[in-house]
Structure formats: structure tokens, C-alpha cells
Symmetry: C2
Subunit: 424 residues, 2 copies
């Protein structure tokens, strides 16, 4: 297990603040679903095999519980059991979650995610809204060099039906291979398609389909010709056409690529799906991803309700920002350290600390009560930019010494002069 130490924490806070600002601008309401769920709630989303990938245990009353592995489960369980919320319901969360993974680069057992979900709308306008908020989140933290790749499960399913593939297991086997097209060689891709039981022309057709990638309207416009089929009535195509309009209205179309190889693993998605990748390196995985999951609410509550959402990892985002040099340096813990020299009553010394703080300036002192040399060493070790030095002489002259720790420059100033320097 991993502690998040002050330097990383200040990065996390910096990123979280900017994420929250965007989520608010879009009208998502923040909540914090319980970190401990009933195990059966977690299994309902991802099947009993999820036990292998999460922390779960029995409590003292014998109930099987698990630590949340995402934020979607909790938000969806809540919404599915509430009838008082006006729809569409826009919720978001930022928080820690746990997976019993082997820790590896950019993957931890305890990690933070941000998450935004819309419940109650089957219209691609809702999918467009979660894609738009995710893009604005990346832009608001300063990231520019990323791709958003979008497809629709309904589209690939409808296409596979035309070559006779309809059984769920077969669909999932093909999804798994299609998902890899950008990561494996051409030969490997064809070999894996073959191992799903596909033959000859069908393999070529799947490859042709999954290779479609480019500006949204261009991909939609050429799809019929590419496949040699009339696709104009396909639900998946119509939804993606409407999504393109929505994304254009929200000024995000140019950020987006329609890439028909995107399926988002096997999961629980059943409509529009999408992922974003940092162009500086896909090794950290997607920086956000999501899609439509219209059946999950029905599993948790008394009613079906269409739903779509997006989530992204905070640690991965921080790695992306650091690689691109976009994170500000960690600030020093305080602006000024109050040191004292000579015999000086603790009250006189602390009064200065207290007045600085009361004026909104972060200030510290040595609660170990050491000599001046040690005090300055401590200020230096903590990279505190200014030191105020005070002693009996200064007190009687009603001044303090202000030392700039960068250039070692020292000046005798009144308290008010010090304040005006430190406030800048």
C-alpha cells in the first residue's frame, strides 16, 4: 500500500481543483459513494470473477463486503434506488479506489479517479456531454496533445451480424481481438481473428471495419462504401451521426476521431464507447474512457434507466502532465520562517508569527527552540523563501530583519514593510 506524500499530494490537489472546476461548469453534482460496498453489488456489474481483482472480506456480522473498484458502481446503485431526482441526473465523484492488481507502472492498488455520469437520457446528447466534459478537464489542466477515439458497440454488433456473428461469446471473443488492433502487428491481429473461428473473407471484413479511423463525418460518410453495405439505417450509425452534431455544437468535434476498433474490453458497455490517449505515450493506458451502459441501473434497482459516463485516473494524468512539463513546481510549505537570535521571550517571538498568519501569510517557527544557526538550516532544508530574524535589539528598535533566502540579502524593515513584501 502506498502513502501519498506531500509533493505528490500537492500535485493531486492542483489537478483535482481544476477537474472540479470543469465538472461544476457542466452542472455535475459531486458526491462520495461509500468506499465499502456489498460484494454482490460489485459482482452485479462485473461478474463473480471480479472477486479475484478486488479487496473483499466478511464483516463481523458475516456479510460479504468489498472495497470499491470504481466510482460508477456506487453512483449507479444510488441512482437506481432513488425516485426523487429530476432526470437527467448528472453526478460526479473524485476519490480513491482499490484493485488487487500486481502493482506496475502507472497502476497502483490504491488509486484516485475522477468520474462523471449522466442517468436518464438515451440521447447521444448525453454521450456528447460526458465526452465534452472530459476533453475540457484535460484542457483545463493544460494537456493539449491527446486523441479522443470514439465508436459504438451497436455499430460493430450490427456489422458482425451481417457476417453471421450474433452469439454473445463469439462477439466478446472478437471484441477482445479488435480492441488490440492498435497494439499488435498486422500478422498477429489476423492470427488472433482466425483463432476466434473467423474465416477468409470474414477476417478481411472485420479488419476493414476495425481499421476505419479518422474525422467523424468522414468515417461515417465512407463506411457504406468501405463495407459494401447500406448502413444509412443502422442505429449505431445514426447515433454516431447525432453525436457528431452534438460534439460540433459543444465545440469539441475537432478533438475527436471515430475509430471503429474501440470497444472498451468486454465490460458492460452497450452503446457509444470512447477512450483518450496521450500522444506522448500510450504506455500509461487511456487517460480517460467511458461509454453507455443502459442495463446497469436495472441490475441494481427496480427500473431500467439509460446511462452514460466517463472516468479518468488522477495518477496517470499527473504522469502525463509531468512528461509534458505542465505541472507547476511544488510550493514551499510556508512563505516565511520567523527565527530569533539572543535572549527573547517566547511571547515576543510568537507574536510576530501570529500577526503574519492573521494577515493571511503562511508562517512557521522552530518549535524545537534551537539556536539561530539550526533555525536557518531548517528554513533552508524546507526551501522557505524568506526568514524574518528578530532579537532583543530589533524588538527595542521596533524593526525586524528580513532575509531573502535565495540571494541571502538582509534588510531591516518595519513589520508593515515586511507584510507588503510578503504579500506580493
Amino acid at each position: 500500500m502506498r502513502d501519498v506524500e506531500p509533493d505528490e499530494m500537492s500535485k493531486r490537489l492542483w489537478v483535482q481543483e481544476r477537474i472540479l472546476e470543469v465538472l461544476r461548469r457542466y452542472g455535475f453534482r459531486l458526491m462520495d459513494p461509500t468506499p465499502i460496498e456489498n460484494l454482490k453489488t460489485l459482482e452485479a456489474k462485473s461478474g463473480p470473477s471480479i472477486r479475484k481483482e478486488i479487496y473483499w472480506f466478511k464483516d463481523k456480522a458475516g456479510r460479504s463486503l468489498g472495497l470499491r473498484f470504481d466510482l460508477t458502481v456506487g453512483l449507479t446503485r444510488l441512482v437506481a434506488n432513488r425516485f426523487d431526482l429530476p432526470e437527467p441526473i448528472k453526478l460526479c465523484a473524485i476519490g480513491g479506489q482499490w484493485r488487487y492488481d500486481e502493482p506496475q507502472f502507472a497502476r497502483y492498488r490504491y488509486f484516485y479517479q475522477w468520474d462523471a455520469e449522466i442517468y436518464g437520457s438515451a440521447d447521444p446528447a448525453a454521450d456528447g456531454e460526458v465526452i465534452a466534459v472530459a476533453i475540457d478537464i484535460l484542457e483545463n489542466v493544460g494537456l493539449r496533445d491527446f486523441d479522443v477515439r470514439i465508436s459504438n458497440r451497436r455499430l460493430i454488433q450490427q456489422f458482425l451480424a451481417t457476417i453471421g456473428i450474433k452469439r454473445q461469446e463469439k462477439l466478446e471473443a472478437i471484441f477482445r481481438v479488435v480492441d488490440k488492433i492498435r497494439k499488435v502487428s498486422d500478422a498477429q491481429f489476423l492470427k488472433e481473428l482466425k483463432s476466434t473461428g473467423l474465416k477468409g473473407e470474414a477476417i478481411e471484413a472485420v479488419k476493414r471495419f476495425a481499421s476505419q479511423s479518422g474525422p467523424p463525418r468522414k468515417v461515417l460518410g465512407s463506411l457504406g462504401n468501405t463495407l459494401g453495405l447500406d448502413v444509412s439505417d443502422w442505429v449505431g450509425v445514426k447515433e454516431l451521426a447525432r453525436l457528431a452534431d452534438v460534439l460540433e455544437g459543444l465545440d469539441k468535434l475537432e478533438r475527436c476521431v471515430y475509430d471503429l476498433s474501440i470497444v472498451r474490453g468486454i465490460g458492460y458497455y452497450d452503446g457509444i464507447v470512447f477512450e483518450a490517449y496521450d500522444r506522448l505515450g500510450e504506455d500509461i493506458g487511456s487517460i480517460f474512457g467511458g461509454g453507455r451502459y443502459d442495463k446497469l441501473c436495472g441490475l441494481y434497482g427496480k427500473r431500467d434507466m439509460p446511462a452514460t459516463g466517463v472516468a479518468g485516473g488522477i495518477e496517470r494524468l499527473i504522469i502525463s502532465l509531468e512528461r509534458a512539463g505542465l505541472l507547476p513546481a511544488s510550493p514551499p510549505p510556508v512563505k516565511v520562517f520567523v527565527a530569533y537570535a539572543g535572549e527573547l521571550d517566547v511571547r515576543e517571538r510568537l507574536e510576530i508569527v501570529s500577526r503574519l498568519r492573521a494577515n493571511g501569510i503562511s508562517a512557521d517557527y522552530d518549535s524545537k527552540d534551537r539556536g539561530l544557526g539550526k533555525q536557518l538550516e531548517y528554513a533552508d532544508a524546507n526551501k522557505i523563501p524568506y526568514v524574518v530574524i528578530v532579537g532583543p535589539q530589533e524588538i527595542s528598535k521596533k524593526v525586524v530583519k528580513l532575509r531573502n533566502m535565495r540571494d541571502r540579502n538582509e534588510r531591516e524593515l518595519s513589520f508593515d514593510e515586511v507584510l507588503s513584501i510578503l504579500r506580493t
Copy 2:
């Protein structure tokens, strides 16, 4: 288990922001210790009986783990195993923690605390610093009507030694009773003291000692006379005298009462201890509490290190603030809802949403694509203060209608005029 829903969440965020601001002003550095600890780390602080009060389990590798029940354990474990941090080390944390309690008023199984600790200083200046930061935290959220009650374990121990009580179990039995003096009747108090084995004059002496409460210097000045003993050389008295100077220097002395009945349960404290209570109601328990624990670092790592700290519950603080009417009302989810009337392309409608958001104004629209009546109902149900209404006529006239949802007043305005109204 409890979900924190949007209204409570916005209160939590409001409070947390103000807490963090003060912690920064004092130079505490924020971190997030892992929520899952080795069970033996948790037991080291509180003894094996803690198992009954926490969530613990074995992971798939057979290790016994537990969910953190406070933030002090994680911060202390980290510090005790690090030798690279300049002392004194000032750390803080805000986060969720778990206790396997029976849920009751103001006590939940999953709750949030803020926490500030100083490691490496045995001087009461460090205790004064954590008391001062806690007081400023309450003041920064607006609370005024509270008492901070302070004592010193070393003082009560030294006093009990003068009446012959030195054995640990006996000390703890008396601590438990003394801790109740403010909560039980006089007769009950004397009866419980008697049941610890104390007799006659000793009972009276303990009662006299534990009844001392008042302005710090007054309590210290009269203590010798009250007890009929020369206390001027007692370590506990000297520490409290220095603490009074520190608190005066930090401009917090008038907030504080020395109350010799304060012992903070049996716990692991071994020096200055303190608690704060809301004068509007002690039924929620202390709103912050803490003290010195010089032996805990030695249990977790290779070295002893003096330590002192303070923690307070976020949920309790919110209850106190609500009772006192000090919490601002929850803000509406967004400032403006963009509704449309008549036949209008989704692009034209969303362009307005997008421009509002790009100008920093929180804006929403109906992703369910319903008629105008339903759209206005939704805006009303979500208490959104403004609605922009746009239709083909408005588009051709390059205006929008702005409706103030409070007074139902509607005006035709240019987009720039709308912006300047919504920005205020």
C-alpha cells in the same frame, strides 16, 4: 455504509477548503496515508482489542490488514521510518476512516477527519502550535462559541503519586472516572472514585484536583494552595506554564481553559492533552481533541521521537455549524439552463451552452431533448436561477430570452448582455 450525497458533499468541500487554508498558513504539509494498514500497525497503537472496533481482514496473500481508524497511525508510521525529513516535521491529512461502531448520532462507520501532527519537538511550543491551528480552523469556518480545555497527563500522574497511586491499572481506572466529572452527578462521581479503591481523604483530594478549571494562569497560580503542596517544581506544571506563554504569543490564550479533569480516555497520550467543545451542545462529543504521544514513533520505527497532534471530525463540525446557522446554503448545480423552443438544430442550441461555459459560467441543457415545458420544469426542480430560451426567431434576430426563475421576469438580450448579467 453511507453515501455522501451532493448537498452534504458541498458542505464538506466548503469546510475542507477552509481547514486546508489554515493548515497551509501554519506550514503543515498535506499527505494521504494509505487507507489500508497492516493490522499489527493498527494494534501497536491501540492494543489487540482494537480488532473489535475496526474493519480488518486477510488479503489473498494471507496478510492481516485493517482499514485506518484514524490518520495519526499512518502519519506516525511514515515519519518513524524516514530519516530524511528535517525536524520538526509538520504533517496534516484530511480523509475518510472507518470504525466498526454501532452507528449513532454524529458517529458513523465511515467518517471524515482533519488531522495535524508535529514530530520531533518535546517543547510545549509544539503543543501550543497544534492547539492554535485547531482554534484557527474553528474560527475560519465561523464557529465562535466553543471552549478549549487543556490539561497534562504528567500533572495528574504526579499528583496521584503524592497520594500513593503509581500502578498503571490503578491510574487508568482513576483516569476513566476523572474523565467523567463533567458528565455525571457529584454523587455518581464520588461513588465511581470509591469503586476504584480510593478512600476518604484521597477521594476528596482527587475531586479537588479534577475540579480545577479556569483561566490558565489562575489555575496554575492557585494549584499549590488548593492541593496543599509545593507544585512549583512539577514537570506537568512547568510545561503548562510554558504552554500558557506560547498560547499568549500566538494570541490564543483567551480561548483556552486549563481543566484538570481532561485526560482523553486511556489511549496512548503521555503529556499535554486537550479537547474542544461546542457550547451549543456537547452531545456531539468533542469537536477537536489531541495531545502529546512521545512513545508511538518508537513502536513503529527505529527511534523514539516526541510527537503531538490534533484531530477533529468533519461531520461533527458540520453539525455544529448547522446548529449555529453558519453554513451557507448549498449552491444550485449551475447558474443557467439553456432551453430551446421550436425546431432548432442541436448545434445552434449547444453552441450557446458551449460559449457560456467557455466564459466560465456554469451552464446545463436537457440531454433528454424534451419540449420547452419539461425543460423549464427540470430547471425549476434543480433550482437553477436563470434560463436562457432560444428558438428559430431568436437565432434570426441574434438575441436570446433570459428568464429570471425567481421573479419569472423575461427579457430579450444580446449574448454579451446575458454574459454580463450572469457574471455578477
